[in-house]
């Protein structure tokens, strides 16, 4: 009986801590983690895993590798969080790590044709997936149209030069401010604006023939 009561108390405490962490902003969660609250790290993972995955996936175009890289981001965060300058935004720091890893991945891929081949092959296999995995509620022709459009958009983004694409995704998908993008990509504000302007124009030009 006492055991059951103790378990319940522990689980209620756990739930309370989780709720408390959920209500905190990033900075407070980081402080909690550095103060020894291990559950704070799970909260950070929950907050950023999807956003980072989308960012990395749109940058490198390989879903499986994107997951690996996002995991690497979290491992680095876990290892080096004590070095993080808490006067700055946690999200900017995390995106900087993710951006650098994605950049390295693209660089390695361009140097190693085997990796490129594997990626192409993987993407080719993805094409063979049955349509029902896309959206079971839609009609087949709608599903095809949507999937086709999605592929066109993704391919168009992939055609942008790497440094333009990075800025473009951070702004249009992640909604980062110019200043944050400048910090993440280690560029000045003018460069960010110029790259974003060019990326928008190029993307519009690439995709126009498909959607007109």
């Amino acid at each position: 009986m006492a055991d059951i009561v103790r378990k319940r108390v522990v689980s209620v405490e756990g739930a309370t801590v989780r709720e408390r962490l959920q209500a905190m902003d990033d900075s407070a969660v980081v402080t909690a983690f550095l103060g020894g609250e291990e559950r704070a790290f799970s909260e950070l993972v929950t907050r950023y895993q999807t956003r980072l995955l989308n960012f990395v996936y749109r940058t490198i175009g390989d879903r499986e590798k994107a997951e690996d890289l996002v995991q690497e981001v979290f491992i680095r965060v876990y290892r080096h969080l004590h070095r993080f300058d808490r006067s700055k935004k946690f999200s900017t720091w995390v995106y900087t790590i993710a951006s650098n890893l994605a950049k390295n991945e693209l660089r390695n891929r361009s140097r190693n044709p085997l990796v490129l081949f594997q990626t192409v092959q993987k993407n080719f296999q993805d094409e063979d997936r049955p349509l029902q995995f896309e959206d079971p509620t839609s009609r087949p022709d709608d599903m095809y149209r949507k999937r086709h459009l999605r592929e066109i958009v993704e391919e168009s983004v992939a055609k942008l030069p790497e440094h333009h694409r990075n800025v473009f995704i951070l702004r249009e998908l992640e909604g980062k401010s110019y200043e944050e993008i400048a910090e993440i990509t280690d560029c000045n504000l003018g460069t960010v604006k110029s790259r974003l302007n060019r990326a928008r124009n190029s993307f519009a030009e690439i995709i126009a023939p498909y959607v007109d």
């Binding site: 993972v45 997951e67 979290f74 249009e172 998908l173 519009a204 959607v211």
Partner: protein, 177 residues
């Protein structure tokens, strides 16, 4: 506003960060310039498509894999730390052993030697002042040196002067005599 200015301001126009007056000027330009209006529409439509891309979710085993990698990473860290500490310990032990051996060696070597080496006391005496008598030619040398001649010519000259002159006492010159 011309098309060039419109293109320069377009980034802020799309992001809705223009000040009121600038925004109105841009809107007026779009209304009157077909080419810029077309370009504006093309960019906005493309952005709309991109922003509405379906979000992808992490796979079901993402958290489990991350946890496993974190544990492995912690173990690696622990292993590395242990290895580093062991290495440091080994270096410290080697240094300590070397110092100990050195100390023992020195102690043994010193034990063979007589501990106190008794030396006879050193008695230093002041040497007697050497009053070497001035040679017969010495006054001539002295006088020649004071006259500004070098020593050797003076000595040669002293050799040549009559001994009586060399042995004479120096006196004050008396020109009245």
């Amino acid at each position: 506003m011309d098309c060039r200015e419109f293109n320069e301001q377009h980034l802020a126009f799309v992001d809705d960060t223009l000040a009121g007056i600038e925004l109105v000027r841009m809107q007026l330009h779009v209304a009157e310039c077909t080419s810029c209006a077309k370009q504006d529409a093309k960019i906005r439509r493309a952005l709309l498509l991109f922003r509405n891309l379906p979000s992808i979710e992490p796979s079901a085993d993402f958290s489990a894999r991350l946890e496993a990698r974190l544990k492995a990473s912690q173990n690696d860290n622990l292993f590395l730390t242990t290895q580093r500490n062991l290495r440091r310990g080994a270096i410290a032990a080697t240094v300590a052993s070397a110092m100990m051996l050195g100390y023992i060696g020195t102690t043994l070597y010193q034990s063979d030697m007589p501990r106190d080496l008794v030396m006879p006391p050193v008695v230093a005496t002041l040497p007697e002042p050497d009053f070497t008598p001035i040679t017969t030619s010495a006054p001539a040398i002295v006088t020649s040196v004071s006259a500004g001649l070098t020593l050797w010519p003076a000595a040669v000259f002293a050799e040549q002067v009559p001994v009586s002159f060399a042995n004479s006492n120096l006196e004050l010159a008396d020109y009245t005599r």
